[in-house]
C-alpha cells in the first residue's frame, strides 16, 4: 500500500487545468500544421495559420488558447494499492479544479443546476470524473477541459445490428454535417461504438484523449477511422465551416462488447484545441 495525500492530488489537478488550457499538445499542433499544408482553400489556410499563431501566443503569454476553458473532465486510473490520505478523491479533484481555474485566470463556466436557476458555481466545479481501477499503487490523472461549442453538437443513436457499418458511418457523418461550423473545425471526432447507451457516450469521450497519431489497435476499427476521416474531409465544411478540405484532424474510435440486439453509437466532437494534460502520482 502506497500513500498519496489529497493535497498532492489537488495541487496536481490545479496544475493540469492550467497546463491543458495554456499549452496545445504537440500531436494536435503537428496535425494542424499538416492540415494547413494540405488545405486547398486560401482562406482555410489563413484560418489554420491563425489557429497555429494563437497556440504560440497562448504558450508565450501563458494564457488560455480559448476563452471557453470548459468543464473539467477528469479521467483517473486509480491503482488499487494506492491509499489516499486526508480526504476523498472526488473532493481533492474538485479542490484542484477550483484552485487551477481561479489561479490560472480560466473562465468559470459551470452552473450549479441546469434547468431552473443556472447560477454559476464560481470556481468551475464540479468536475466530470471518470474513475477506473487499475493494478499497482500509482494514480494517473488526465484532465481534458471540454468547451460547449463542440460538446453541444455531439450526438448518440441507438442503432440496431442491421444498420451495420453503413449505419455507423451515416450517423457519424450526419452528426458532423449538422454540427457544421460552430464546433470550430478542424475538429477531432471521438466515436464510441457498443456497450450500452452510457458506455458508448463514455467511449466517445475517451476516444478524444487518445493521441491523434495513434490508430485503433484493431485493424478493422483503424480502417474505419481512416474511412470516416476521409468522408468527413469530403464534406467541404473546412476550417471554421468557411470551406475547405480540412474539416477534421482525426477520427478516434473506441469500442466495447454489446448486447445481441444493440449497436449504440456516440459521437463526441472536439474543437481544434483538443486539450488534455496528464500526470502520474
Amino acid at each position: 500500500m502506497r500513500t498519496i495525500t489529497a493535497q498532492a492530488i489537488t495541487d496536481a489537478v490545479a496544475k493540469l487545468a492550467i497546463e491543458a488550457n495554456y499549452y496545445l499538445s504537440e500531436d494536435v499542433y503537428n496535425a494542424l500544421e499538416e492540415g494547413q499544408q494540405k488545405e486547398e482553400s486560401p482562406l482555410g489556410k489563413d484560418i489554420i495559420g491563425q489557429i497555429l499563431q494563437n497556440a504560440c501566443i497562448a504558450r508565450d503569454e501563458a494564457k488560455p488558447m480559448c476563452q471557453d476553458t470548459g468543464l473539467a473532465v477528469v479521467f483517473v486510473e486509480l491503482g488499487q494499492d494506492a491509499h489516499i490520505q486526508g480526504g476523498t478523491l472526488e473532493a481533492a479533484i474538485n479542490a484542484g479544479v477550483a484552485k487551477g481555474y481561479i489561479e490560472g485566470y480560466l473562465r468559470k463556466s459551470a452552473v450549479a443546476e441546469p434547468l431552473f436557476n443556472r447560477k454559476n458555481t464560481g470556481d468551475n466545479t464540479p468536475a466530470i470524473i471518470h474513475l477506473e481501477s487499475v493494478p499497482g499503487d500509482r494514480i494517473k490523472i488526465l484532465l481534458a477541459p471540454k468547451g460547449a461549442g463542440s460538446e453541444n453538437k455531439s450526438g448518440l443513436k441507438m442503432l440496431v445490428p442491421a444498420d451495420g457499418i453503413a449505419g455507423v458511418k451515416k450517423f457519424v457523418l450526419d452528426t458532423v454535417i449538422s454540427a457544421g461550423s460552430s464546433t470550430c473545425p478542424p475538429i477531432v471526432v471521438g466515436v464510441g461504438i457498443g456497450g450500452t447507451m452510457d458506455k458508448a457516450a463514455y467511449l466517445a469521450k475517451k476516444a478524444l484523449i487518445r493521441p491523434l497519431t495513434e490508430r485503433n489497435a484493431h485493424p478493422e476499427y483503424a480502417k474505419l477511422e481512416a474511412e470516416l476521416l476521409d468522408l468527413i474531409n469530403k464534406t467541404g465544411i473546412g476550417p471554421q465551416g468557411l470551406g475547405g478540405c480540412t474539416t477534421a484532424l482525426a477520427v478516434n474510435v473506441e469500442w466495447f462488447p454489446t448486447h445481441i440486439a444493440s449497436l449504440p453509437v456516440a459521437v463526441n466532437i472536439n474543437c481544434h484545441a483538443t486539450r488534455h494534460a496528464e500526470i502520474t502520482l
Binding site: C66, G149, C245, C271
Partner: protein, 185 residues
C-alpha cells in the same frame, strides 16, 4: 494571405454595403460584447418599454464571454461564441439599428431576412483563436448586467480585430459559397 480590408466601427450604411461575403476585414473602433444572457436582458427591457443600456444605432455586437483578465491587461482570452444561441433575440436588435454582429457558426433564416431588411452584416472570427484576438482588444468596460460576469454587456475598443464577412447585407452566405467547391460527397 487573403487581402484584409480595414473598416471602422460603429458601421455606416456605406461600409455595410461595401462588404461582401468572403471578405477578410480588420475592424477598429468600438464594439460591444454580449452573449445570449445579455441579449435576453435587453429583450426583456424592450418588452417593458424601457430604453436599451446602449443606443445600438450603427453598432456591432461581438458574441463573446472572455476569460478573466490577468493583472495589468484589459481582457483575458476572447474568442467568439456560437451566434445561433442569439438568433431568437437578434431581429429585434437589428430593428433597433444594430448593423453588425461577430460570432461563429450559422444563422437562422429569420436572422438573415432581418439583416437584409435592416442592412446589416454578420462577421465571423476564428473560434478558439482567443489569445490572438485578445491582443486586438485595447479596452473592456462593463456597461450593464455586470452580475452576469463574463456574460455582461461591455464596451470594447479594438484595433485591427480580424474577421471575415460570413453573411452580407444582401444575404449572401459565405458558409454556403465557401463550402461548395470543396464538397466531394
Amino acid at each position: 494571405m487573403t487581402e484584409q480590408k480595414k473598416i471602422t466601427a460603429p458601421l455606416t450604411d456605406e461600409t455595410v454595403k461595401s462588404l461582401k461575403a468572403g471578405d477578410s476585414v480588420l475592424i477598429s473602433g468600438v464594439i460591444y460584447a454580449a452573449r445570449d444572457a445579455a441579449h435576453q436582458r435587453m429583450i426583456e427591457a424592450l418588452d417593458r418599454g424601457e430604453d436599451l443600456p446602449v443606443d445600438l444605432t450603427g453598432q456591432v455586437i461581438y458574441y463573446v464571454g472572455p476569460s478573466p483578465a490577468k493583472p495589468g491587461e484589459p481582457i483575458g482570452s476572447a474568442g467568439p461564441t456560437t451566434a445561433g444561441r442569439c438568433d431568437a433575440y437578434t431581429p429585434r436588435l437589428l430593428d433597433k439599428g444594430l448593423k453588425g454582429m461577430i460570432g461563429k457558426g450559422y444563422r437562422s433564416d429569420t436572422v438573415v431576412d432581418s439583416m437584409k431588411k435592416n442592412g446589416a452584416v454578420y462577421f465571423v472570427c476564428v473560434g478558439g483563436a482567443a489569445a490572438l484576438i485578445s491582443r486586438t482588444i485595447k479596452a473592456y468596460d462593463v456597461v450593464a448586467y455586470g452580475e452576469l460576469g463574463p456574460e455582461a454587456l461591455a464596451r470594447m475598443e479594438v484595433v485591427d480585430f480580424p474577421a471575415i464577412v460570413a453573411i452580407d447585407c444582401e444575404g449572401r452566405n459565405y458558409y454556403e459559397e465557401g463550402q461548395k467547391p470543396y464538397k466531394k460527397l
